[in-house]
């Protein structure tokens, strides 16, 4: 699988504030790459730099293996995108908006019809877009991005403003795109649940820095599980272990240890046993994704 998007130490500074810091993003062919981060984390700024809408302060971007600066036209011709809020001409109808993009993309009429059908706007296509709901505008934006059936599709928060049924539809659509149309998809979101259900690979950005990049599985395994130990006398055990440099937290009937390797767990057990302290239970508690995000970003499941 070849690399579709790669950024190298991509940074963007507005005045004194660094919005994106040394981001090395890597998207491979056929992936659905979920770009996850809280509001204001730098997702949109990064995506804008990938599309050449904003100039990076430092670092560089390659798309389809080509430098963005020199091959912008080629890259954009193969890329569909929806950045931030949807773009539209409110005084024109949905179909006329599609025609504007069609002229610039130079694609046949059937692409327009197909894209409208996919986002289920064919019945509303003759209404003025100013009268559309936010969800319909969002669908129109997705249809515009899809129209040329590009190799790369970049959708920035595509489910904003959609109702639950709409979110489900778009999610199914995005999942189907790589196989059906041979697309690579980058989708950003601040919602963990949304990314979890669609993405094959994820990147987590927080305060402009990439905290993690890889598969969801890798993320789950990234953090060592919490080890819970129950002894005859937890208070005494805690004191004993503190002298040996272990700093457990009290968690109900248990002492909780973070970031212990197998050797350290064995050592801990030996210490307790050698001191004549009976160990009743040693348990491992896997962290769920939500917990991992919380630890990473200091915010809850809705990043």
């Amino acid at each position: 699988m070849s690399e579709i998007i790669a950024t190298y130490n991509l940074s963007k500074r507005y005045g004194d504030a660094c919005r994106v810091k040394n981001v090395n993003l890597s998207v491979r062919e056929g992936e659905i790459y979920g770009f996850l981060g809280p509001n204001g984390a730098g997702k949109t700024t990064t995506l804008k730099m990938i599309l050449g809408l904003t100039r990076p302060t430092a670092g560089r971007v390659t798309v389809f293996g080509k430098g963005l600066e020199q091959n912008r036209r080629f890259i954009l011709s193969q890329t569909g995108s929806l950045i931030e809020s949807p773009s539209y001409y409110g005084h024109l109808t949905g179909l006329e908006n599609m025609r504007v993009v069609q002229r610039l993309r130079d694609v046949p009429d059937r692409n327009v019809e197909e894209a409208l059908r996919i986002v289920r706007l064919e019945k509303q296509k003759d209404r003025k877009v100013a009268q559309y709901s936010l969800g319909m505008k969002q669908r129109l934006g997705i249809a515009m991005a899809l129209m040329s059936f590009p190799k790369l599709l970049i959708l920035d928060e595509p489910t904003n403003g959609l109702d639950p049924a709409g979110i489900g539809e778009i999610r199914e659509l995005i999942k189907a795109l790589p196989q059906r149309y041979d697309m690579t998809v980058v989708i950003s979101s601040h919602l963990l649940s949304e990314i979890e259900q669609t993405a094959t690979s994820i990147g987590i950005i927080h305060e402009g820095m990439m905290l993690f990049q890889g598969s969801l599985e890798a993320l789950k395994n990234e953090k060592l599980p919490t080890i819970l130990v129950k002894t005859q006398n937890n208070a005494l055990a805690q004191e004993l272990l503190a002298r040996k440099g272990y700093l457990p937290a009290r968690d109900g009937d248990f002492l909780a240890f973070e970031n212990l390797g197998d050797d350290q767990v064995a050592m801990l057990n030996r210490i307790l046993v050698e001191c004549g302290m009976d160990v009743l239970r040693i348990e491992e508690r896997k962290k769920n994704l939500e917990r991992i995000f919380l630890d990473m970003t200091g915010k809850g499941g809705s990043l």
Partner: protein
């Protein structure tokens, strides 16, 4: 050229042309009724020169506002729906879009001027002016308008593109209308620095108050030519400055 076609396509349902026609109807109606009154009071002054001079001074008031409205309508649609970034991701360059909008605005305003020229010819014909239609004078009238528009459109476009709130650009147009109508009262040195003074300043016919009667004098083309060249250059500089300025902005 494709982009200009696209701009015209995007103007659908904007009722821009209807607005232009209504606006012109008011202006032309006013100019013609004023001319009719002066002819009925003073039949001797009936002539093409008076008609063209009247239309030129009306243009000082009306065209800056008409231009401001047209340019604003053409530029504002990109602000309203956040379509800048859409177009940029479709490989449209900012400079090319700026040029397309400039050409489109020029076409619309030039069309309005052409309608004026045709209306002048029609009115004189109806009134039974003795001399034949002065084609050369009308062409010089059009040339003066087109050259003045070059600069005014460039200025308005810069304002409409940079300030998202169109009230600024429209207010600028109104200031232009005021200057345009009052320009002839300013001393020449001051008049010259205002671009809106050239609606009358480049008119082929001027009014002279030398005697008790108003006299209409046809200006010598040779004296206007250097002004025309200079004004065209100023218009191009304003256009380029606006285009470069807008091209450097980021979304």
């Amino acid at each position: 050229m494709g982009l200009v076609g696209l701009e015209l396509y995007k103007l659908r349902r904007k009722r821009l042309f209807l607005m232009v026609i209504l606006f012109l109807a008011v202006e032309i109606g006013w100019a013609f009724s004023a001319t009719s009154i002066s002819i009925s009071r003073n039949p001797g002054s009936a002539g093409w020169e008076a008609l063209i001079a009247m239309m030129s001074s009306m243009n000082g008031l009306f065209l800056p506002i008409l231009t401001a409205v047209c340019v604003s309508r053409i530029c504002d649609m990109e602000h309203k729906g956040n379509t800048w970034k859409l177009l940029l991701t479709l490989s449209v360059r900012r400079g090319a879009l700026y040029a397309a909008k400039y050409v489109t605005a020029s076409l619309v305003v030039s069309l309005a001027c052409l309608i004026q020229a045709v209306a002048i010819a029609g009115f004189g014909f109806m009134k039974g002016f003795e001399q034949p239609v002065p084609v050369l004078l009308l062409l010089r009238f059009l040339l003066g308008l087109v050259i003045t528009n070059t600069g005014v459109i460039a200025l308005q476009q810069w304002a409409s593109m940079t300030a998202k709130n169109q009230a600024f650009a429209l207010a600028l147009g109104m200031v232009g209308g005021f200057v345009g109508v009052a320009a002839d009262l300013f001393p020449q040195g001051i008049r010259r620095i205002f671009i809106w003074s050239y609606y009358t300043g480049l008119s082929p016919v001027t009014q002279s108050y030398a005697s008790a009667h108003i006299q209409f004098v046809v200006r010598d083309m040779g004296s206007l030519l250097p002004v025309m060249v200079a004004l065209t250059a100023v218009g191009m500089v304003v256009y380029l400055a606006g285009s470069v300025y807008v091209s450097r902005q980021e979304t």
